[in-house]
């Protein structure tokens, strides 16, 4: 295992220390592993909390700041944070208007956030939750854990963050979050496995001439293993299942071409070119885009595509100022 780390068990604590040193505008609670805005929101504004396992940087800590999250809880690598982290964070960011929990749909995240919300309720804080489940690689069903929450989380945190920043109330913010979640879909692929530091070796073996289609963000194998293909074909294998799941024509779309952590920007731009060309052919109008590493899977090479069906209101919120380590514009 080749990583810029010391002992595997110290990766999270030491990375948070570096984050804190690099971003004095953040208030990093190293004991509780909670990343907070240093300048808290005004009284009466809705707080936004997210969090999840680490290894997806910049998500979530990198999206804490004006116009996005008020706090993020960092779990161990690929392991949901715990309810008491959520309790501490919820309490810290509540400004009397309640707190929205943004949860990615994984059994662990959902259960821990549920318990965290119960604890926060015992503290007298009104908590609403949105569970993001945008991954079309996974079949949705009442009898399973349902679809995973992946790339849409980034877009949702930005848009809902703008709504909370401008003073919308908890019900409105929670409804908006649910609406965004209903209108977004993602699909990912891997050229290589990632290596969890504590495991010390790649999560799966992938021959040089194969790739995984339909991966999530935890280094889990995908839905199928197929022969390595040119970027053009990979783009089709990501875009087609998304368009088959939902109609994205007729409204402007926000598109993210996300890198999984080890794919360089020169490749991500190339992939974006392929994806944009396919979307144009399919009649999808791209209003805004993001290209880069936003929700990663440690050192996995690969990428994912996220589409969000937008409208004037969502675009307005998207364009609103945001000042975080991972996303910044307008200020």
């Amino acid at each position: 295992m080749k990583k810029l780390i010391n002992a595997p068990e110290d990766v999270l604590a030491e990375s948070l220390r570096g984050l804190a040193l690099a971003h004095p505008e953040l208030d990093v609670d190293l004991a509780n592993r909670v990343i907070l805005r240093r300048d808290r929101k005004a009284e009466g504004r809705v707080g936004l909390l997210s969090g999840g396992g680490s290894g997806h940087e910049p998500l979530h800590g990198g999206f804490v700041g004006t116009g996005m999250l008020d706090a993020a809880c960092a779990g161990e690598v690929f392991t949901s944070p715990t309810p008491d982290q959520m309790q501490v964070a919820t309490k810290a960011i509540d400004r009397g208007a309640g707190v929205l929990h943004i949860v990615k749909n994984y059994t662990g995240d959902v259960m821990n956030f549920e318990m965290g919300a119960e604890l926060a309720a015992m503290d007298g804080i009104e908590v609403r939750s949105v569970v993001v489940d945008d991954d079309v690689a996974v079949q949705d069903s009442l009898y399973t854990a349902g679809r995973r929450g992946v790339g849409l989380t980034v877009l949702l945190e930005k848009i809902v963050g703008a709504a909370a920043e401008e003073g919308q109330d908890l019900a409105a913010v929670a409804d908006l979050a649910a609406r965004v979640n209903g209108q977004g879909r993602s699909m990912g692929m891997a050229l290589t496995s990632c290596t969890v530091p504590a495991a010390g070796k790649p999560t799966f073996d992938l021959p040089d001439d194969q790739m995984e289609i339909g991966i999530g963000i935890h280094g889990e194998p995908g839905r199928h293993r197929v022969p390595l293909a040119p970027a053009k074909d990979i783009a089709a294998q990501l875009v087609e299942p998304i368009l088959a799941d939902m109609d994205f024509t007729g409204s402007p779309a926000i598109v993210m071409l996300n890198g999984m952590g080890a794919s360089p920007l020169i490749e991500l731009y190339l992939m974006y070119g392929e994806v944009a060309a396919l979307l144009e052919k399919a009649g999808v109008t791209i209003a805004r885009n993001l290209v880069g590493d936003y929700i990663t899977s440690l050192d996995m090479a690969g990428c994912s595509v996220t589409l969000l069906k937008a409208d004037d209101e969502l675009i307005r919120l998207w364009d609103a100022p945001v000042v975080t380590p991972g996303l910044r514009w307008g200020a």
Partner: protein, 214 residues
């Protein structure tokens, strides 16, 4: 006063030590199982959680079964995260609540506690038989435990039977297609691999039997 058939608190504490030792020792194996159909952290999760839980028990030396299991459950909830944190945490919390402030436990009471624990797991995770989760090791283990006790077998015999049944349940997860947890994302590809949670749950019954046997 302890009768020959009751299990004293010290044995329950010993169980937790043994379970901690087992998940630490089998940590890489549990992670390997989780690599195949999950995210390669189950060994680290269980080892981290049980190490913290046993440390906490040693610091606080709980005086009764309810406190003991509450300490373990709370520590797991607050140190593990992931799916196994709330699930194992709830399991132990419910066991503690069911046993109450006792310093020795009748085998039947322990079985009732374990049933309460499993109900907690189901309440949290909604798993059913055949979903390829730790339920599939625990449920048959409890059936075997109940049956053995009903037949009038000793606590040692009954917990040994439970461990055997847990292992059989664990092995039976290999052929299953997962419907809950992370492995469910793999669909048909999840078949052919043992569920990591059922493997750690089997260690829970192995160590219970070993502790009771003394």
């Amino acid at each position: 006063m302890s009768t020959p058939h009751t299990i004293p608190l010290a044995v329950l504490v010993d169980w937790l030590h043994r379970f901690r030792d087992a998940v630490v020792e089998k940590r890489d194996w549990l992670t390997e199982l989780d690599s195949a159909i999950g995210d390669a952290d189950h060994g680290a999760n269980m080892a981290r959680g049980m190490t913290a839980a046993v440390e906490k028990v040693e610091q606080t030396t709980p005086a009764a079964a309810d406190e003991l299991f509450k300490t373990v459950g709370m520590t797991l909830v607050s140190t593990v995260g992931g799916a196994s944190g709330p699930l194992y945490g709830t399991l132990f919390l419910r066991i503690g609540a069911s046993l109450g402030p006792v310093t020795e436990v009748e085998p039947a009471a322990l079985a009732a506690g374990l049933h309460a624990g499993l109900e907690g797991v189901v309440a949290r995770g909604k798993a059913e038989a055949g979903d390829k989760t730790l339920f599939d090791a625990i449920a048959p283990a409890l059936d075997a435990l109940d049956a053995a006790l009903a037949e009038g077998r000793s606590a040692a015999e009954a917990t040994a039977a439970a461990a055997t049944a847990a292992a059989a349940g664990r092995d039976a997860t290999i052929d299953l297609v997962a419907r809950k947890g992370r492995a469910s994302y793999l669909g048909e590809r999840s078949a052919g691999h043992m569920d990591p949670g059922s493997a750690s749950a089997t260690l829970l019954f192995d160590t219970l039997a070993a502790a009771v046997a003394g």
